[in-house]
């Protein structure tokens, strides 16, 4: 047995209630249950989270870096899409 035989899983951690899960890295594991254990042991051993997701990396659909120009460049000069013209109250966190 070696990790080379095991599929890769992407790991997402919710750092506290109310926040969304964030991608933190990946683990090798033979199945979903062990993937969760490995994610727990690898990424939440210093109180980083309250909830974990693991997703088979093979299931992720990714954009092609070759398409970067058409995918992302057109947004570069459209600052009016940013909600930066509003004053956000100090009490509103995590926006």
């Amino acid at each position: 047995m070696s990790a080379g035989d095991w599929p890769l899983w992407e790991v997402f951690v919710r750092s506290k209630g109310g926040l969304s899960h964030r991608h933190v890295g990946s683990v090798h594991a033979p199945d979903p249950e062990i993937a969760l254990r490995h994610a727990r042991d690898t990424y939440t051993r210093r109180m980083e989270g309250v909830s974990l997701w693991v997703v088979p990396s093979a299931q992720i659909v990714a954009s092609d870096p070759a398409d970067d120009a058409s995918m992302f460049d057109p947004a570069a000069d459209k600052v009016y899409r940013h909600p930066t013209f509003y004053t956000i109250p100090d009490d509103v966190k995590h926006i």
Binding site: A3, D31, I34, R37, D41, T42, R45
Partner: protein, 280 residues
């Protein structure tokens, strides 16, 4: 390295004498002695298994498993620190947890024989972990209600850690047992190696019964049926043979260990014994 001295008739006579008038005797006001012994048993179980698991660091089948084993080792060594620090306070001879861990010889260790068994392969390590953690989890669940507030607090914290150890180990027993021909053979070998040390976990000697009566400890036979039921269920799911019924092999709780413990202590104790003044 201490070698095992022969047990002479006068030693046996002395041991019999201790039994009557020594640490186990509540009338002599020696409850501190019994409590000290009990804390050594708890602390040494965690210390020795923690040391064993840490031997895997850098050698596990994958980096993820490496971390899993190191996490469990750290949990156990943390428990050992709490129990042995408390043991030192109860003893009142100015020995703290480190002193008890690093400056006792093999005959003074009170861990069960199961935890000192060599790692073998990953399957054997997981077999040992499952058989031990399933027991330790039930023990700590009871000790969380101990009449001794300090033991109750340590157990209440540790029981959550051990719940995870038990679950993780059970998953590996099932996966390797119900896996390939090779993994099944290895897990069966691992269970076969470790199974003979399970009855010792349920040994109820005078000290255990005395502290159980005081509400400080617990007679492990209170949860034996529950333990055996879980072990049987996991082995069944893993398609492995049930644990054999056999004559108990005892001795760990009185300092009569297998040859393996001395070698483990060599590694564990070398640095602090060679450089007594060394600090972090």
């Amino acid at each position: 390295m201490p070698s095992l001295p022969p047990i002479r008739p006068e030693d046996e006579a002395r041991a019999a004498n201790l039994h009557e008038h020594g640490a186990f005797d509540p009338a002599g006001g020696a409850q501190g002695g019994a409590l000290f012994e009990f804390l050594l048993r708890l602390g040494d179980d965690s210390l020795v298994l923690g040391q064993r698991l840490s031997e895997w660091t850098g050698h596990a089948p994958s980096v993820e498993v490496d971390l899993s084993l190191a996490n469990i080792a750290l949990d156990l060594i943390g428990q050992a620190t709490f129990f042995l620090d408390y043991a030192g306070e109860v003893e009142g001879k100015e020995r703290d947890g480190d002193r008890l861990a690093f400056h006792r010889d093999v005959l003074d260790f009170r861990n069960c024989l199961l935890v000192e068994q060599p790692n073998g392969d990953f399957a054997r390590t997981m077999a040992r972990q499952f058989l031990f953690s399933a027991w330790q989890h039930r023990l700590f669940a009871h000790l969380a209600a101990s009449a001794d507030a300090r033991i109750a607090a340590i157990a209440a914290k540790a029981v959550k850690e051990v719940a995870y150890h038990q679950e993780l180990a059970a998953e590996w027993v099932i996966r390797l047992g119900d896996g390939t021909d090779e993994s099944r053979r290895r897990m069966q070998d691992g269970i076969d190696w470790m199974a003979r040390f399970v009855p010792e976990l349920f040994e109820a000697d005078d000290l255990t019964l005395f502290l159980a009566e005081k509400g400080i400890g617990v007679d492990p036979n209170a949860f034996r049926a529950d333990y055996e039921e879980q072990v049987a269920a996991v082995l069944r799911e893993a398609t492995l043979d049930p644990l054999p019924v056999q004559r108990p092999i005892l001795g760990g709780r009185r300092g009569h260990h297998s040859e393996h413990l001395g070698h483990l202590l060599c590694t564990l104790q070398f640095l602090p014994r060679t450089y007594p003044e060394a600090v972090w």
